[in-house]
Amino acid sequence: MAVAGNTDTQRIARGLRQRDVALLHTLVVEYQFRLVRYLIYLLGRRDSIDDLVQETWLRVLERGRSYDGHSRFEPWLFAIARNLTIDHLRQRRIFSLDSSGDASDSHANDSPEQDHKPLSLASHDPSPFELAARTEDAQRLAHTLETLEPIHREALVLRFQEDLSLQEIATIVGVPLTTVSSRIYRGLAALRAQLEEAQHAN
């Protein structure tokens, strides 16, 4: 049930309005992996992911009426997950997604020195990126992703994995299009630098 056409989104909207549990189960199965991936990119860690996924779907059940079916389902779903993640981070006072890196978002201020401290992992366990890397390049990129600003990782996954448009990403994240572009370019620059470095090392 790929959510491609308007008919599909309307069907999802209708099902959510009626709190159709069968439809919700289908959506859970279809979007589970993508939701987990988005949350891992957002958080940079695996703990709390299960709770956030569960909470996201409960919110979808409760607030399904607010999805009108005029736009794709994914941005709406990711926006819910993102808001819950921000609440979760605020409660645990880990870091703020919205404040981190925003000052350095514009191209004019693009200097690596302005980067905020990356989210530090609590232990020396392998990061979720290291654990999930299946190719050589992915293994090379794992550490960079781990140390990258969450907002830049988020922009990368939404653009290049979820294939969302700039406008959709801007809606999810709540920032202007130029900021989204800037985050994508900065994230990509970090990955490119890592690959170049690995290439020179070889």
Partner: protein, 162 residues
């Protein structure tokens, strides 16, 4: 001048990742990449980095789906219970409001005929209608929305992030 050319080519390469280039831009970039190995490498590195993102395979916890289904079923049951209750309270509230309006009208306009019918003093009849009809229904009107607001507030709090 040459640096500007490379910079603008790289700017176009970046832009092509987030938006559609115009045909003119597309052609000029293609021509430049054809001649410039450095910018071609820049474009290749970008492509490689993006492809690298596809080399991760994240997996959900094996029992996550079952946990989500169970949580959804439980919440659905809770909603089944709370929502009809809310509808009932809202309906009762409307009825109480109507009764208050009717009672007030009765006290104002039907006080005298009613007093004559029951052989009572008009003032006492009015006071009786106010005390036994208007006041209780008014209290209901004020009390019931409070019942509605309590659970709604906690739900709104949860949903504020949306």
């Amino acid at each position: 001048m040459q640096t500007d050319l490379h910079q603008s080519a790289r700017h176009l390469i970046d832009r092509s990742l987030t938006e559609e280039l115009s045909p003119t831009e597309h052609h000029s970039l293609r021509d430049h990449l054809h001649e410039c190995a450095a910018c071609q490498k820049y474009a290749d590195d970008n492509r490689r980095a993006i492809a690298g993102l596809g080399g991760f395979s994240f997996t959900a916890s094996p029992d996550l789906q079952a946990k989500v289904f169970a949580a959804l079923a439980q919440r659905e049951q809770q909603l089944e219970v709370t929502q009809p209750r809310r509808r009932r309270i809202a309906r009762t509230c409307i009825i109480a409001l109507l009764l208050t309006a009717v009672g007030s009208l009765a006290a104002l306009h039907l006080g005298d005929p009613l007093a004559g019918l029951l052989h009572l003093e008009p003032a006492k009849t009015q006071a009786g209608v106010l005390a036994l009809w208007v006041l209780p229904s008014l209290c209901f009107c004020l009390f019931l929305p409070a019942l509605l607001l309590l659970p709604a507030r906690s739900m709104n709090k949860k949903g504020s992030a949306l």
